[in-house]
């Protein structure tokens, strides 16, 4: 969309809709633009002049309040002395990601904004680290298992809606089949394997799926067995998303019943990263985990 008139400021897409996908990503990209601008010793006024916009527009871009347009980004990166084509194109790709309607847009009726944000971030991350205490992670779920989990959360929903929710979850798994998939490093409590969601047959198939997933080169699965006693992850499930860009901080995602929490302040993130590192160290090795899941499957 490059229809703006020089000198004029158009309403930015997504401005009225703070829950639209990509808000977090926009914030991260905005913060990166600010760091680059400051490193290049450019004032907001100078930056604004470069893209025929006001100082406040720059400020809103840098705080993620407005969408980022490709032409503005190209001009600003040039002004800030970023000439590496790979860096430029990756930045543009992320900006595009932060504003475009994604494959999940058609699920808008069943998709809360906070989860849409997560899907946006998940799809551009380079590493996804998760800790699960209750359910197998969505990216590893079989259709039957996903259906059973969905029914638990939406007991009165009509069958058609349940199927759409299951469809969304299955579609999301395309991520792992992508040409350049993110690294998925998933640690889970033994309880996840033992709780026969959907009944023993569904669970056995789910455990087999988990073993298959663990065999993928980009996937690491580790279990923290009951026998290890208490563990560092007492506070519950959480996810740490990492991005390839050196400047972009990790983001912690914690799902709640009606909402989700995103943390990107380094001191907050670091606490979760430490717990994640500790859990990964306490867990069985990936090889031992596969044997362990096979044993649980026999007992299910």
């Amino acid at each position: 969309m490059n229809t703006e008139v020089p000198g004029g400021e158009q309403p930015d897409p997504g401005m009225d809709d703070p829950s639209a996908g990509g808000v977090i990503l926009r914030m991260l990209l905005g913060a990166q633009l600010r760091r680059l601008r400051e490193a290049a010793d450019v004032t907001p006024e100078q930056a604004g002049y470069e893209i025929r916009a006001s100082r406040s527009k720059i400020s809103r871009m840098e705080t993620g309040q407005v969408g980022l347009k490709a032409r503005d980004i190209t001009d600003l990166l040039a002004l800030y002395g970023v000439t590496d084509e790979q860096v430029q194109s990756r930045f543009l790709q992320l900006a595009h990601q932060s504003s475009r309607p994604d494959w999940w847009a058609k699920y808008g009726d069943i998709l809360p904004g906070w989860f849409e944000n997560y899907l946006g971030l998940e799809s551009v991350s380079s590493t996804i680290r998760t800790f699960e205490i209750q359910f197998v992670h969505g990216l590893f779920q079989t259709e039957d298992y996903a259906r059973a989990v969905t029914r638990l959360g939406h007991q009165t929903a009509p069958a058609a809606e349940i199927e759409r929710r299951v469809g969304l979850r299955v579609k999301r798994q395309d991520l792992l089949a992508r040409a350049d998939p993110p690294r998925m490093w998933s640690v889970m409590d033994e309880a996840v394997l033992r709780r026969p969601v959907g009944g023993p047959a569904v669970m056995r198939a789910q455990l087999r799926r988990l073993i298959e997933a663990a065999g993928l080169p980009q996937v690491t699965v580790q279990v923290v067995p009951f026998a290890r006693g208490g563990h560092a992850g007492a506070s519950g499930s959480f996810t740490v998303l990492r991005f390839e860009e050196q400047d972009l901080p990790d983001v912690v995602y914690i799902e709640q019943l009606t909402d989700a929490v995103y943390l990107e302040q380094r001191s907050d993130v670091e606490h979760y990263l430490e717990v994640m590192d500790q859990l990964s160290g306490e867990a069985l090795t990936p090889a031992a985990t596969t044997l362990f899941i096979e044993q649980v499957a026999k007992e299910t």
């Binding site: 490093w185 580790q222 990492r242 990790d250 430490e274 590192d277 500790q278 990964s280 090795t285 990936p286």
Partner: protein, 278 residues
């Protein structure tokens, strides 16, 4: 879980130290190195310590990149030109691009690599992320370099000690003080491998740094870090290679060891060499 002295390798606890405690409140060399290389697996204490070192010696960032590039060239040489298929890499570090097994297995997929480290965070990352090619093997030993009994007995289960093994000790021996006799540790490891095996070392050079700079680095490390450093001279590092013949160009600053055109240029404070056991 472990004794406090394990956290202070400088305190003369030779031999049977347990694993390091999981402690992110003090800087750890592996995570400082990760920070210097632009990684994100480091904590506030690691960054504070690294910045303190950079404040005294800004070239440390280049030194880390140069050491990493040296690793790539050394493993490449060993796998391609020396035909080595077994690697004992002690002091694994946080996985990043171009880890030992990736370099070796890209050249010879059947390469077997055993990593050794004593830091719980390094081990957690290594076990999860350093996965082998189908044809080769990658394994991990949780041990302190001083504990050569554990290292050798476990490595024997994974490597064939009747065939050449490359013992790789990059940027680790400086964490072993003279009181723990690093030369005896290296000799013990090299005694266990057959003739035709290789030894690769990189080591901070006390004669590659101005005296006040070196003191500044050591002071910064002493105040912030789990490890304490002992930099050594060219002659002291050369002694590690007793019983081996150095391959060309001998013991030189790491960036001068068979440089590739694409390697970063600059001057590092690290001596590096590869020797072939007679």
């Amino acid at each position: 879980m472990t004794s406090d002295e394990a956290a202070a390798p400088g305190s003369g606890t030779a031999g049977k130290t347990g694993p390091l405690p999981f402690d992110t409140s003090k800087a750890h060399q592996a995570r400082m190195y990760d920070y210097l290389l632009g990684g994100k697996d480091n904590y506030a204490a690691d960054r504070v310590a690294t910045e303190a070192v950079l404040n005294v010696y800004p070239e440390m960032a280049f030194a880390a990149r140069a050491n990493r590039a040296f690793l790539g060239r050394v493993i490449g040489y060993l796998a391609r030109e020396a035909g080595v298929r077994q690697f004992l890499d002690i002091g694994t570090g946080i996985p990043t691009a171009g880890n030992t097994h990736q370099v070796a297995q890209a050249i010879a997929p059947e390469s077997r690599v055993v990593y050794v480290d004593y830091d719980p965070i390094v081990l957690a990352h290594a076990r999860a992320l350093l996965t082998s090619s189908e044809a080769g093997a990658t394994e991990y030993i949780d041990a302190d370099l001083r504990d050569t009994d554990t290292i050798l007995s476990q490595a024997r289960q994974l490597l064939d000690f009747t065939k050449p093994v490359a013992v790789v000790l990059l940027a680790i021996l400086h964490a072993i003080p003279d009181s723990d006799d690093p030369h005896a540790i290296v000799a013990t490891l090299m005694d266990a491998v057959p003739s035709g095996s290789y030894l690769a070392i990189s080591h901070g050079g006390s004669d590659l740094l101005a005296a006040d700079t070196q003191q500044g680095i050591l002071d910064a490390i002493r105040q912030t870090s789990q490890q304490q450093y002992s930099y050594r001279t060219h002659a002291q590092v050369a002694r590690f290679f007793a019983g081996t013949d150095l391959v060309e160009p001998g013991l030189v600053p790491v960036e001068e060891w068979r440089p590739d055109p694409g390697n970063p240029s600059g001057h590092s404070p690290g001596w590096g060499a590869v020797g072939r056991k007679r």
